[in-house]
Symmetry: C2
Subunit: 593 residues, 2 copies
């Protein structure tokens, strides 16, 4: 009779393997019922593929970020009830589910559930409170970094920001025996961020000699856009699975847990670190292996991973497409309306809207004035024809005249100035809003980040609308996106002339943007330096910018905060977008020049 309940060879030499499913889903903030249904549907699919474990993103029950909904006790309690519905559906599977835990205070948490039993709850330890994040406003920090033991497999769970700290839970959990780290995220997109994340995850995996699962959420939420792109790095730091960018996906993958032990044995640095590991009182918590899962012998074939690499323009274009689609759909709009000027901004906005929502859900509105050129009308028509969308035309001349007549007395003796230009823009704003009110369409504003930065836009005029798709996209990038889209279409979907003609607001005779602004090739780098990189005046000069130009641009940026404060939300794609990401006082006498 053996001392061992299983045969010795089996005990020591069975190959440890885990089939894991990552639910890279798109929850909606506050839609507790919808989010629960989505989790349950993905769990069903995971089970279908024979996964023993399914992982969901950070705060997938509530959507991210729930902001001040978190300060409503009723919301927290409803979220707990929603989690319980997910728990009830975990028959025969282990699930890691992001939710808001309540225990004297509230926590950004992950429930570890096995076969309908909540085995443990992990609390996020590192709370981001920069950029668009306000997590100290809401959450208490966690203090425990347990290791979970599921049969032969040891794993650690942590949340988003936790993995960015080299001394954080990942390292401690891995040194304490976890072969697998599950890091769940709601990590917003910025251009090129995927590369930064990937090198971070790869480094963590290699440093810890552990398999690291990085699961991101996907979808748009007001100004934030989550880009998915989940990855799994093995214990050597090689990427073994990748999720799609900007799309929901269930990523199923077999993890060779045994390989981790093999690798660690050859890893002198890690063995040294374990020897030096201070007493951390790591809890080892048993996670029962669900019976039904254990029985599944013959595992189904895995789906092919859907990841495709993207060049920068495609990446940004896809981000904007998803952002506008989610804003429109999650807010229940029936369609969208774009004020078409024949310029590059409105052309790109309409094109992205059609790609995002289908041509039946986008209407163009052309509102000519006597300053509108023949080319603008032709180009607007050509574009809408190419896109297959309806173009309405409402001239503003009569209304403009009635304003001028009505104001004649009050303006007596005053020369025309920007007042009259703004009036035209505001008449257009009113017409767009009138159609929005009458037909239930969301107005997509067309201003770009360069204009928003320097205030080259009319409040309640071209700024009037519900969503500012290009709010964080510099003018030079607008051109690049238009050219990329045309190249993809293999034709001039956006008419050629729109791309090469000089930008103009057409609010006065022969007006050009360059009458008021430096050329965009000069302006955009200064904007990036001042806004995104917080460079000083002297540093901007050392880039080669003329002092007068730098001074004018900075002054325009500083003075336009009041306009930006009243602008609609748009999609963050840079490290410093306007909105919650850049919190400037309106009242400020600071001059950096």
């Amino acid at each position: 009779m053996s001392l061992y309940k299983v045969p010795l060879m089996d005990y020591y030499f069975r190959m440890k393997e885990l089939r894991i499913a990552l639910a890279q889903i798109n929850p909606t903030v506050g839609d507790l019922r919808g989010n629960v249904e989505k989790c349950i549907a993905y769990m069903r699919d995971a089970r279908k593929y024979g996964a023993e474990m399914v992982v969901f993103p950070e705060l997938c029950i509530t959507g991210y970020p729930p902001e001040d909904l978190l300060l409503k006790p009723q919301f927290v309690s409803d979220n707990l009830k929603a989690l319980d519905k997910v728990r009830e559906a975990t028959t025969g599977i282990v699930a890691i589910v992001g939710f808001v835990d309540r225990n004297e205070d509230i926590y950004n948490a992950a429930a570890v559930i096995s076969n309908k039993r909540v085995v443990d709850v992990y609390h996020k330890m590192y709370l981001p409170n920069y950029g668009p994040f306000d997590e100290y406003r809401y959450f208490q920090s966690g203090t425990r970094y347990p290791v979970y033991k599921m049969g032969d497999v040891h794993f650690g769970v942590n949340i988003c920001e936790d993995i960015w700290y080299p001394e954080g839970p990942t390292t401690i959990q891995a040194l304490s025996g976890a072969e697998l780290i599950l890091n769940i995220n709601a990590s917003p997109y910025t251009v090129g961020k995927a590369d930064v994340r990937e090198s971070k995850i790869v480094t963590r995996a290699d440093d810890s000699a552990a398999i690291v699962v990085y699961l991101n959420t996907v979808g748009g939420q007001d100004e934030l856009l989550f880009d998915g792109g989940s990855i799994i790095a093995d214990e050597k730091g090689d990427i073994i699975a990748r999720g799609k960018l900007f799309e929901e996906e269930l990523i199923v993958c077999d993890l060779d847990i045994e390989g981790v032990f093999m690798h660690r044995l050859q890893h002198p640095l890690r063995r040294q670190q374990v020897l030096n590991l201070e007493e951390t009182n790591i809890e080892i918590i048993d996670v029962p292996v669900p019976k039904t899962t254990a029985k599944a012998k013959q595992k189904p074939k895995l789906p092919k991973p859907g990841f495709c690499p993207m060049e920068e323009e495609e990446e940004i274009y896809s981000a904007l497409t998803l952002g506008v689609r989610d804003y429109v759909n999650k807010n229940g709009f029936k369609g969208t309306l774009v004020g078409m000027s024949g310029g590059i901004d409105s052309s790109l906005v309409a094109t992205i809207a059609v790609d995002a929502l289908g041509k039946g859900n986008v209407t163009g509105l052309f509102m000519p004035s006597p300053y509108t050129s023949r080319e603008s009308r032709e180009d607007s028509r050509a574009l809408c024809k190419n896109l297959g969308i309806k173009l309405l035309e409402i001239p503003i001349e009569k209304i403009f005249k009635s304003y001028l007549d009505t104001l004649k007395g009050v303006f007596k003796g005053k020369k025309p100035d920007t007042t009259e230009e703004n009036l035209q823009a505001r008449i257009r704003g009113n017409l767009l809003m009138a159609l929005s009110n009458k037909f239930g369409w969301l107005v997509l504003t067309t201003g770009n980040k360069s204009e928003m930065s320097v205030g080259y836009a009319t409040l309640y005029g071209d700024m009037a609308g519900g969503f500012a798709m290009l709010k964080d996209v510099a003018k030079t990038t607008v051109y690049a996106l238009a050219e990329w889209r045309n190249a993809k279409a293999e034709k001039f979907l956006i008419p050629e002339r729109v791309i090469w003609k000089e930008p103009t607001a057409e609010l006065a005779p022969d007006q050009l943007d360059t009458d008021s602004l430096p050329p965009y090739e000069v302006l955009d780098p200064v904007l990036q330096a001042y806004i995104e990189e917080e460079m000083s005046f002297d540093e901007i000069l050392s880039m080669g910018c003329a002092p007068k130009c730098a001074k004018d641009v900075i002054r325009m940026i500083d003075r336009s905060e009041y306009k930006r404060r009243q602008s609609p939300p748009g999609i963050k794609i840079t490290p410093r977008a306007f909105g919650k990401d850049r919190r400037f006082p309106i009242t400020s006498k600071y001059k950096s020049y």
Copy 2:
């Protein structure tokens, strides 16, 4: 020959006294030069009164809150240069000055300066990160709570939030020997907050058996309003000095430091606490007594304190007056423009604006339509006559007709609805903005918190403007303020009929607010419960609100976030104002009913 350098009797029995000056000033965010000049001017006055020490508010060098200016290295460095200018002016006096310290990271700090030498710098330990505050976004927490020894006087310095914690620096500094605690603030106003602060300060003073100086800043900064009202509580918890509310003031006071020792000797609880004080490694830092001060034998007579108690309406009215005055002046506007409707909101806004800025800086604009009643015109005229301001009149009928004509084709077959109502409001918004553009006036919007809450307002229409004075003032409070102002004037400054007639938007025939909303006496308590107190649906029902009413109101609040996001800033007067104080997602499917 005596062992003591001073005669024994003198050494032990000299009366310790300190003449202190509190500079309750109104700095401007980013106006480093202006703030420095103000500090130096107040320091000069303090010296004139023979004060040995002068205290300035939290971040008085930069103004509060500087928000993301703090993330600009150049701003931090300019603030240090500004502090140095103040340092140079501290001849013969000890000054406590709020600034941003830089030492690897940045700190919300107070410099302890004696006669041109920075003796030490205190770093704020408790950083508020709730409501309108984001201090974790900016600052590192301090870790030291030194006690300063200036001649015979021991004092501790701490900053704002620090004193709200019973276990915070105040307690430790006092137990470690500080007889005097200097707590410098930029503490925003909310209705009745002065009482809360006072009882807290009195309790701290009594608990610590120390004199507590609570110095607040004063003035408006975007949505925040600092109300001054500095106080000094003696070691028994009695208030011995009070600063004015809503005004700058130099408060000079003689502090009987000797009394603290006398009191402590009779204070068994404190003696017990000192015995139990754990080893805290308190630093005792010498602050040289400036020579010139030490020489001043004959001290000048002190000015009388300017504090006057206020009833609630006067307090709110004063807050709004200061808020709008500072917004207009600090942003450099030449005048203001108010759209007059003959209703209570615009009447109150115009009245406050005149009280804040003088009648030469306020213009009224009456924009009648066919739905405008005779009474509205009469009441607008009567009010402007009473206030002595100019009332312009621009009818909107022609413009409205030109819109309807122009839209006829597109709207064919559609019935009139809120679209046409919004159009009228937006025409008025455009006219106000046209005058604003032409004459450089700031448009003061007239919407109140009740309307903002339920979205009973037109985006780009009556919401168009630069400053929303009543944004945080409920409709029922608007009435109370109007009545208070009339009572103060001892006449119907705001015409009687404006107060008793039914509120109406006059955008459709015979329209009343109650067509769309519950009466304000019913609505306002529900708004307060849901917004300011975060009550659940059931709790609101238990207040006696009908389920349909509660549901409708909550739905309207939740759905109007997109409007509020594009509204101009207004003055926070409640515990939960719209703006940075209440951060709600626009995209949210959460339903609490």
